[in-house]
Subunit: 704 residues, 2 copies
């Protein structure tokens, strides 16, 4: 009766490993080559693998499942230790930046390390680079060896307790004292306490402080200053109070803190003065565009779009592997009498495949945005160095486009990734709730991306306003839009209620879907303009349509770039599989998701929506199903990157999960440390004895 293999079994156990192997055996394309497409080249793909190999073999760097058991205090220690370790890699590899690709990979491998270091090298240094002169940047970044995490550790002092999104409303003051040629940094009241400052509680020696420049009693608005927080012995400078802001929903490994400045004096030359200058006499030169000083945030937004691609890919890899390995419920269609694999349920495909498409389509747009960002910033830096005003203003135009695109992409990308992680967790049923699945920590670490460095709703609203204004300008003033809003020049053509696409087949063509989005944005914009007019020009009244516009704009960007990349793809053999994913994205993530809008604004008729939902999508999903494991393998995540008991490469989900559980929670501890107390409560004596028999008949007799 018993089956003896690695254990004594009374019946044959499930064999999920075989299911995953069978999928791989029948895959029609090479996942490694697909990764070249996703990461833009073989070279980049290889660089990533080299870096991950270093990380996963390094005993300090590799988090493993144990990471899910750490307390807040333990997470902070290991995070600090890993930063110190990474700094050694930076030194010996002569790569001081850890920005770009390595930072992006680090953020997936261990997001706490990614962010805690990113606050220093991305935000603090980003602020110095964006707002400081070349000399200031060279001093604070290179001379001080900040890139190697030596001597100084910076934090980014923007947000305050009472001001986050409204940076222009910050209340910390930097008052110029002509007598001593110093600025006096001061926190006027509790609301202006710097808050959420990553690294402030324990790590940072310096802070790039956003404060109102006050000269001779005049308020020149928010500018940036480097303010030392701790001395070389890591003791707090006089006038600097910091505190730990404590437990968070996620990323507990980062020592976010609060800072209050009480008349802290810094030399005038600690002001970052690429665009804004104050002379010893108190003469002030202001920047050509206030937004220029927020460019440090721009880098963060751009990297979060890349994070959206990688984190979507990570979550969906685990969920799809699990879906292949897990069987539940018998079905007539299963000839051998075994239960159906989750992946074979059409609903399961409809739940997960759109997120697979999301990850793949996002990759193209993420890389494009990053390239554009680097280009614009380099051009601006060079223009400023040579004081070429014409090129400075050209760069500012490009920067404005970048603000719009990155706002749309960051908000939409991070929201959809949160949804992806959550849906992937749910698709693994109860087991998705185990910390060892990785989903819980992923979600908790992730969702802050929807609020930091530009709250998503605020960002999305900032996209709607220029679009609506541009629609009005085109329709009423015959304006010609440039760049990413140029499609609005067709506004007059779509300023009506006519159906644009009446055949479903039209909508499986990328160009048509792009045009459908353009028409929809145009019509929402026209309607929005009317609402604004009805509300006395108040754009607050079009928050909801602005949200829709921002999301649609993001999909347009992602899809357009994915389409372009397909056309120039050197690995042509992959195109059928990529086109299929693109079609699924069009049908599901765009048309079905925004069906309410497409129908409300008559871009498509109900019959098309019905066909897409009931016919097109199931058919596309069935096609994707055939190579589903190859698609996920194409992300080329090793087990250390995924860090999930449910999604390991071998597919042996039950053994892997059970072994992780047993290793981290040894079964010999079947009595809890608090067991004696619990047992005593469970086996407590009778109530009347514990009440000293005071309510009993004998006492009653005395009192009666």
């Amino acid at each position: 009766m018993s089956v003896v293999s690695n254990s004594v079994d009374s019946a044959a156990p499930p064999n999920p490993r075989a299911l995953l192997a069978a999928e791989r055996a029948q895959s029609k394309f090479d996942p490694a080559t697909m990764n070249y497409f996703l990461e833009t080249s073989k070279e980049t793909s290889d660089t990533i693998k080299e870096f991950v190999q270093q990380l996963e073999r390094d005993p300090i760097m590799n988090p493993g499942a144990k990471q899910y058991e750490l307390t807040k205090e333990q997470q902070r220690v290991v995070t600090a230790r890993r930063i110190a370790r990474l700094a050694q890699y930076a030194e010996t590899q002569n790569d001081p930046t850890f920005q770009g690709l390595r930072a992006s990979i680090m953020s997936v491998f261990d997001p706490q390390v990614g962010t805690r270091l990113g606050v220093n090298l991305g935000l603090f240094i980003g602020c110095v680079r964006g707002n400081g002169t070349k000399d200031q940047y060279d001093y604070w970044y290179k001379q001080k060896e900040t890139g190697y995490v030596r001597g100084i550790y910076g934090c980014f002092g923007m947000t305050e307790l009472a001001h986050g999104s409204n940076v222009a409303g910050l209340e910390t003051t930097a008052t110029f004292d002509e007598k001593t040629d110093e600025f006096i940094i001061n926190t006027p009241h509790i609301g202006a306490t710097k808050w959420w400052i990553g690294g402030a509680a324990h790590s940072s020696t310096h802070c790039s402080v956003y404060a109102r420049l006050i000269v001779k009693g005049e308020d020149y608005g928010v500018k940036t200053f480097v303010v030392p927080l701790r001395d070389a012995n890591h003791n707090l400078m006089p006038g600097v109070a910091v505190g730990d802001i404590g437990a968070k929903m996620g990323r507990d490994g980062i020592d976010n803190g609060w800072i209050q400045f009480s008349s802290v004096r810094i030399p005038r030359f600690f002001m970052l003065q690429k665009f804004c200058k104050v002379t010893a006499e108190g003469d002030v030169t202001l920047p050509p565009l206030e937004q220029l000083s927020y460019s440090a945030l721009l880098g963060g937004r751009v990297s979060m779009v890349m994070d959206s691609y990688r984190w979507s890919a990570k979550a969906v890899t685990v969920a799809l592997r699990y879906a292949v390995c897990r069987r539940q419920f018998k079905s007539k269609s299963q000839a051998d009498g075994s239960e159906t694999q989750l992946i074979n349920y059409p609903l399961h495909q409809r739940r997960l495949f759109p997120f697979l498409a999301q990850a793949i389509v996002f990759s193209a747009g993420s890389w494009k945005l990053e390239h554009t960002f680097n280009e614009v910033l380099d051009t601006l830096d060079k223009a400023v160095e040579t004081n070429d005003m014409k090129r400075i203003f050209a760069s500012i135009d490009a920067m404005k486009s970048l603000f719009l695109d990155s706002a749309a992409l960051k908000s939409t990308g991070t929201w959809l990734t949160a949804e992806c992680i959550d849906q992937c967790r749910q698709s693994c049923g109860g087991h998705g709730y185990s910390s060892y699945s990785g989903f819980g920590k992923s979600y908790n670490d992730w969702v802050v991306q929807c609020t930091w460095e530009g709250d998503n709703s605020v960002l999305a609203m900032s996209v709607g306003k220029p679009v609506i204004k541009a629609v009005v300008a085109v329709l009423e003033k015959g304006a010609k839009e440039k760049g990413s809003l140029s499609f609005l020049n067709n506004a007059a053509k779509y300023d009506n209620d006519e159906i644009v696409f009446s055949n479903t087949s039209d909508l499986l063509d990328f160009s048509n879907v792009l045009r459908a989005i353009e028409v929809l944005i145009t019509r929402i914009g026209i309607q929005g303009a009317k609402v604004v007019a009805d509300n006395g020009g108040n754009f607050d009244s079009v928050g909801a349509p602005s949200l829709a516009i921002a999301k649609l704009k993001a999909h347009h960007y992602f899809l357009e770039e994915f389409h372009r990349r397909l056309q120039s793809n050197e690995y042509k053999e992959l195109n059928p599989y990529l086109e299929l994913i693109g079609k699924l994205y069009c049908a599901s993530n765009v048309i079905e998701k925004f069906a309410g809008d497409f129908l409300t604004y008559n871009v498509i008729p109900g019959s098309v929506a019905r066909e897409i939902t009931n016919v097109t999508l199931p058919a596309l999903c069935a096609e994707v199903r055939k190579n589903v494991v190859a698609y996920t393998d194409a992300f080329q995540f090793s087990d250390s990157m995924l860090n999930s008991s449910l999604g390991k490469y071998d597919g042996d989900v039950y053994e892997n999960y059970y072994n992780t559980v047993k290793t981290l929670n040894p079964p010999e501890n079947h009595k809890a440390p608090y067991s004696a107390e619990f047992e005593a409560a469970l086996n407590r004596g009778p109530l009347d004895a514990r009440e000293r028999y005071e309510k009993g008949a004998e006492v009653a007799a005395i009192f009666v």
Copy 2:
């Protein structure tokens, strides 16, 4: 220059407290009376307050903000301690149940206690009650004093590692041994390991085990058995292996575990035999409906609908109070030059007010479902006691309706509540990410409700199937549906593509919205039936439409009961304010949310959808805005229930938050425990020294 109040300020701090007070001063209805409506009566409202008062004053029971700092191990200790404390209340108040109202309140006050105790009193005892004879129930529940948490502590052994949703597929065996008149409980392989069992790791002495009944080699399917896990000294019984399943996304205070049985023998009378019996000779009587043995889960589902109401209310109270207190960005409309309160942004209203409406409308349906459940179960118990087969079958009919309704309501309610908590967190911006806001733990504790005791997708699919079948039966066989599906008898009338409501004003009437939902369900059902037919009768093909049907069915139930309650409301003065909420629910939570479906199936035209989005909803929100604080106060949560620094009654958000942060993270700890290690890394010597100068010029000279 300085303002001295409780601290020295250089400028006037924000005064959020005044903003909340101003709202209360102008409220048009009494929140306390509104609570009578929400909780069905003044009596219930008062009972809740008494219980909360006991809890919040009790030093063991009140979690406070400190709860957010506890490690997993600490959470388990305090949870166990609180259960012991609650048991004392139960004893002295002669209330052994802690089911119903008290359990529901406990689940909001401290969900870990609610669940860890609920597994014992709700699931274990629920299983004994649902599947055992009256004598068995009396013995295990009353005689053993389980209700007072004395002597025994039960857990619920249903789920296995490889089987969750498919209960009929469980693989643990209970083989009858005629020779000894015993059952042998056995775990055949790793996949059949009981998994996720709340209380198994450390607390439980007994388990209600779901196992396949095997008699004389024949498999009779899954039945229920009481199996002792630990002896009176809390040591594991022979043949019983348990383990801790470790860290979870939330609810770490519950000691979920796994159990493996290796030929564990129990007496025949430990089988629960209300419906299913095995004689000493091995003759088996089977139950009239297999689902009857899952009725213990039904109680859980019903209570999760009530939880959905309470948790939605809790999250939205915090978010709306914060929205009143928080200002961000200046607006021309603000005459005094101060920044705009978040609550005054139309987008903020559109984000949050639908969740306010959700909480209020859910209350009515939750209470109805609970009453129906108790009624059906009592009737069934009485019928079984008197062996009245006619009434047993009548009860089974009612039970089937209850399975359908509770599946729709549990899945939709818990999903929407997860969305509510998440959106409320995001609406508080960065501060929502602080643990002290309460949102993070709420979300993490909550979302398991979407998967346990019936995975939401599986439950939703279980609603779609009977609806689609009923549509076919009505249309093709002239069948007459009863009960909650009777509206489908009008199917023929709507089996077309005609617009049903062409005026927006029609849709502000509850009856019309109910009818619109009915038409939509009917048409999705008709379309679904075609898809099923095209797929050879396979209902797996209609997973997606089934999901839509389940959600719409739930909204129909909630709205219908809310409408009924309004008509019989004894506090008539509240009706205008409740009607407004109902209209918002119709326009936003139903029509706008399902606009894609309503338009696809031509229930309403695009023009109506456009008007609702652009005109109706902003207008309704503006009305709700006027009494927004009164609506949230109507939930009557004290600060201890909310346990949020951002949502306290006084509205002093910045002081409250800052004080919590400082109390739990004393600023004197400005050097971390690991600071020396971090400082050493930051101030490490130069690289060439650490490399022992091996790469330097001197060594090079030797080697060259």
